[in-house]
């Protein structure tokens, strides 16, 4: 398989007043096309930093991140914006839907940014919320908001879907629904999904699991038999 993305010896330091925080210390990995990757680790272990670097929201302090022919560590802000626009879909723990736009408008917003978007109305059906198209986010439950957020991310038809604790604020049944959508996108659209969690059960749906601790990538485990989200419950 061909690597979609390569990270080599990346480090990330933050300056907090006088103190330098080493969020990532010499992390290297490759991500292949069509993979479902779960990143596991306690809070502050560098999971989110890694995801933000992959998504071009943050830049590395040293090391290189290569996506196709694009070196993310050398790209200027305009290049990174274009990279996010064309290739990346992001999903957050707290959904981050625009409160002034309806469900459908939220999805359509990301379609406007893409060169090859999917149909917003069809995606709304796929996440099972066609009857909610004209509702504002504050009238939707957490699970529904997250499904809209997923539809919004998928609507751009991204190559790489990055999810930061997408089920963190949801109960387990709603969480499984959300995971089914993400897993389905990975398998049926043959796209790459990277998912952060601190829930070990969720790791069982992954092709590979990255274990983070104290800013280091401790080990990478290959899962010979990835489970379906239906088969896991927590």
């Amino acid at each position: 398989m061909k690597p979609l993305l390569q990270a080599e010896h990346i480090t990330k330091d933050y300056q907090l007043g006088e103190v330098t925080v080493h969020a990532l210390k010499d992390v290297s990995f490759e991500i292949y096309e069509k993979e479902l990757i779960v990143i596991l680790g306690p809070s502050g272990s560098g999971k989110s930093t890694t995801l933000n670097i992959l998504g071009g929201i943050e830049t590395v302090t040293s090391g290189s991140v290569i996506y196709g022919s694009l070196k993310l560590n050398k790209a200027d802000p305009q290049k990174l914006t274009a990279y996010r626009r064309e290739h990346i879909g992001f999903i957050f723990q707290f959904y981050n839907l625009l409160p002034g736009l309806t469900a459908l408008e939220n999805i359509a917003l990301s379609a406007e940014l893409s060169n090859h978007p999917l149909d917003p109305g069809k995606l709304l059906e796929e996440v099972g919320l066609a009857d909610r198209r004209d509702h504002f986010p504050n009238r939707l439950s957490g699970g529904e908001q997250q499904r809209i957020a997923i539809a919004r991310a998928l609507c751009k038809n991204p190559d790489l879907l990055l999810c930061d604790e997408p089920t963190g604020a949801l109960d387990s049944r709603t969480g499984v629904q959300v995971l089914k959508l993400l897993e389905g996108f990975c398998r049926s659209y043959e796209k790459t999904v990277v998912l952060i969690t601190h829930n070990r059960d969720i790791a069982r749906i992954a092709d590979r699991v990255f274990y983070f601790k104290d800013g280091r990538l401790e080990k990478i485990e290959t899962n010979p038999d990835p489970k379906k989200p239906d088969e896991i419950m927590w």
């Binding site: 998504g55 929201i57 305009q78 914006t81 274009a82 990279y83 996010r84 626009r85 064309e86 990346i88 879909g89 992001f90 957050f92 707290f94 981050n96 839907l97 625009l98 409160p99 002034g100 917003l109 990301s110 940014l113 893409s114 504002f136 986010p137 504050n138 919004r152 991310a153 751009k156």
Partner: protein, 254 residues
């Protein structure tokens, strides 16, 4: 029964200081005005032109302040530490200038800016001369209102928009502005009402207006009915602005 002349004119600042005349009509006032508000009746023409002057100052200074304030409020928001276009020099400079103008009492600003007024408007007196100081007095206040309105925006939304590939301009337009219309409407209402207060002082440079009218007749000549009517007109004006602003804010809050 004597009538009085009502001239309906388009509020506008013509280069020669004149107004566009829309209609001229003599109407007769109800008898109760003549009897119970004798001074208002006697100075009806002055009263109308005072209202007109106040309206013109409010609309012109308000519109200019709205535009400049909106832009600079956005600049402050995006350049602040941690903002999407963080820029220490622009932020600190603008922040200090806003503080400086906000701390100058308006009556001082009014006379201090006379040379600038002369440069921009061609005169430092009358309504035309008051516009520049009004803009300088009102804009810094509105900048702070815009800043406060935009600060209500959840940074998660900004992050989400950036992660989708929105450029900084997209974020300003789609997230900061569109999601803050309600808050900006509230800030605009407060600013418009505070500007109305400032126009009352513009009489100091001969700009006329309701404040000047009330001081000159109501206070200086002890014509109490004029003071009361002026207050009444201002209460109505403030109520209209407040109601309209509240309506816009409510319509845009989800």
């Amino acid at each position: 029964m004597p009538g009085f002349l009502l001239e309906m004119q388009l509020p506008g600042l013509m280069p020669d200081g004149g107004w566009i005349l829309l209609a001229k009509k003599t109407i007769t006032g109800p008898a109760f005005i003549e009897n119970s508000l004798p001074n208002v009746y006697a100075h009806w023409g002055d009263f109308l032109s005072a209202m007109k002057d106040t309206l013109i100052m409010e609309l012109w200074a308000g519109s200019v302040s709205f535009l400049i304030g909106l832009i600079l409020g956005i600049v402050l928001t995006v350049t602040r530490p941690g903002g999407i276009l963080e820029n220490r020099i622009i932020y600190q400079t603008l922040d200090k200038i806003v503080n400086m103008f906000r701390s100058i009492p308006f009556i001082i600003l009014l006379t201090a800016l006379m040379p600038l007024s002369r440069l921009i408007m061609g005169t430092a007196i009358y309504v035309r001369g008051a516009i520049v100081p009004l803009v300088f007095g009102c804009t810094p206040f509105f900048i702070r209102q815009v800043e406060a309105a935009l600060a209500q925006t959840d940074y998660g939304l900004v992050e989400a928009a950036l992660s989708m590939g929105c450029s900084p301009l997209d974020v300003i337009w789609r997230v900061y502005l569109k999601e803050s219309i309600g808050h900006i409407a509230r800030g605009t209402t407060i600013t418009a009402i505070s500007l109305l207060g400032l126009t009352a002082m513009a009489g100091a440079v001969g700009a006329g207006g309701l404040g000047d009218f009330a001081i000159r007749y109501g206070h200086d000549r002890n014509m109490t009915d004029i003071t009361w009517i002026t207050v009444l007109v201002l209460v109505i004006a403030v109520s209209i602005v407040q109601t309209f602003g509240g309506w816009v804010a409510k319509k845009n809050t989800h």
